[in-house]
């Protein structure tokens, strides 16, 4: 989902910065406030950020004969919401833009928007809806992380389509062309990302379900149900 350095023409790179910066600023503010309120979320924040680090470094082969990478943002989105997740994503995106020539500083706004904001927003909403409807906790996490990953790549396709509309067929034809590169390739990767995120979430629930309950991420009833199932 990295749009390469210099590959978004004026005015698009500015537009995506303009959309991303307020969310990032709010994310930093919200993160500081949460940490001040309770230090016990710090380790979870570190784990969610590190999870993005690990997953976005893995370039995996897919059924289309090309490679792509997961995003790892589902976990942060579920626990902390999209605004804080955008801050976690920007750390990774800057690392990759500066040291790896992956993505870029001029396209940072667009990449933060797709990977740090839009994808996590989808994941957050899916998780809230799924867990509220009484779906099994880990299945909710799986769905949220899978769709967050997939949505990230669809947004990237849309960003590129808006910047490079086809001569015939316009933005929609371009979107089809870019989605053809990203969408199918990403399906198996998104599913694996969802599964790994669910597993990671399970370990966090086993160790610190108390913090998750206090943060209103998981209901005490859902934890009780998991304990019952285990007993």
């Amino acid at each position: 989902m990295h749009i390469m350095e210099g590959f978004l023409p004026h005015p698009w790179w500015e537009i995506w910065f303009a959309l991303s910066l307020p969310v990032l600023a709010y994310g930093v503010y919200k993160m500081n406030r949460m940490i001040k309120e309770s230090r016990e979320i710090l380790p979870l924040l570190a784990v969610a950020g590190a999870f993005v680090f690990v997953l976005s470094s893995l370039k995996l082969p897919s059924v289309t004969g090309s490679c792509s990478h997961p995003t790892g943002t589902g976990m942060g989105a579920i626990i902390f919401g999209p605004a804080i997740t955008s801050v976690l994503a920007v750390i990774v995106l800057v690392y990759q833009a500066v040291f790896l020539a992956h993505g870029g500083l001029t396209t940072l706004g667009a990449n933060v928007f797709s990977m740090g904001i839009a994808g996590p927003a989808v994941g957050y909403l899916v998780y809230r809806a799924a867990s509220r409807s009484g779906l099994h906790l880990y299945l909710s996490v799986f769905l949220a992380a899978t769709l967050a990953d997939w949505a990230t790549y669809l947004v990237t396709a849309a960003q590129l389509a808006l910047a490079f509309p086809a001569a015939s067929g316009g933005v929609y034809a371009s979107f089809e062309a870019f989605a053809a590169v990203f969408a199918i390739t990403q399906v198996p990767l998104a599913a694996v990302e969802g599964a790994v995120t669910a597993l990671m979430f399970k370990y966090i629930v086993e160790l610190r379900s108390d913090v998750l309950v206090r943060m209103n991420v998981v209901s005490a009833r859902a934890i009780a149900r998991l304990r019952e199932a285990a007993a």
């Binding site: 989902m1 749009i3 390469m4 350095e5 210099g6 590959f7 023409p9 380790p43 784990v47 590190a50 680090f53 690990v54 997953l55 470094s57 370039k59 082969p61 897919s62 059924v63 004969g65 090309s66 490679c67 792509s68 990774v92 690392y95 833009a97 500066v98 040291f99 790896l100 020539a101 870029g104 500083l105 001029t106 790549y153 990237t156 590129l160 490079f164 001569a167 371009s174 062309a177 870019f178 590169v181 990203f182 390739t185 990403q186 198996p188 599913a191 694996v192 599964a195 790994v196 669910a198 597993l199 990671m200 399970k202 629930v205 086993e206 160790l207 610190r208 998991l226 199932a229 285990a230």
Partner: protein
Amino acid sequence: MKRAGGFGLEAIVLGLVLLFIAAFAYTSSTGSHQWSGADSQAEGVISDLTGGAYEPWYQSIYEPPSGEIESLLFALQAAIGSLIIGYFLGYYRAMARAKAASAAAERDGKQDA
């Protein structure tokens, strides 16, 4: 530390990963593929759409001088992340164990008194 849920989820995840590897093996065996990055393929689509007219207006400030160094930096990224995850999960696990132990000791102490 009692395990909630046994190893059901681990088995499912393992199954999915095996399926993923099988899909890779199958795709590999049917024809030759580039296995190039989707990110760089998008560049190809851009040059198709613009008739090759688009020139990136800004260059990366640094590029890893070789594939080896690039993979080093990617591995470093994964290593840093794994280290942090492992550290905190281990920290939590030991904390929970210590708490359980001190609670048990307190109980025993009361029984002695």
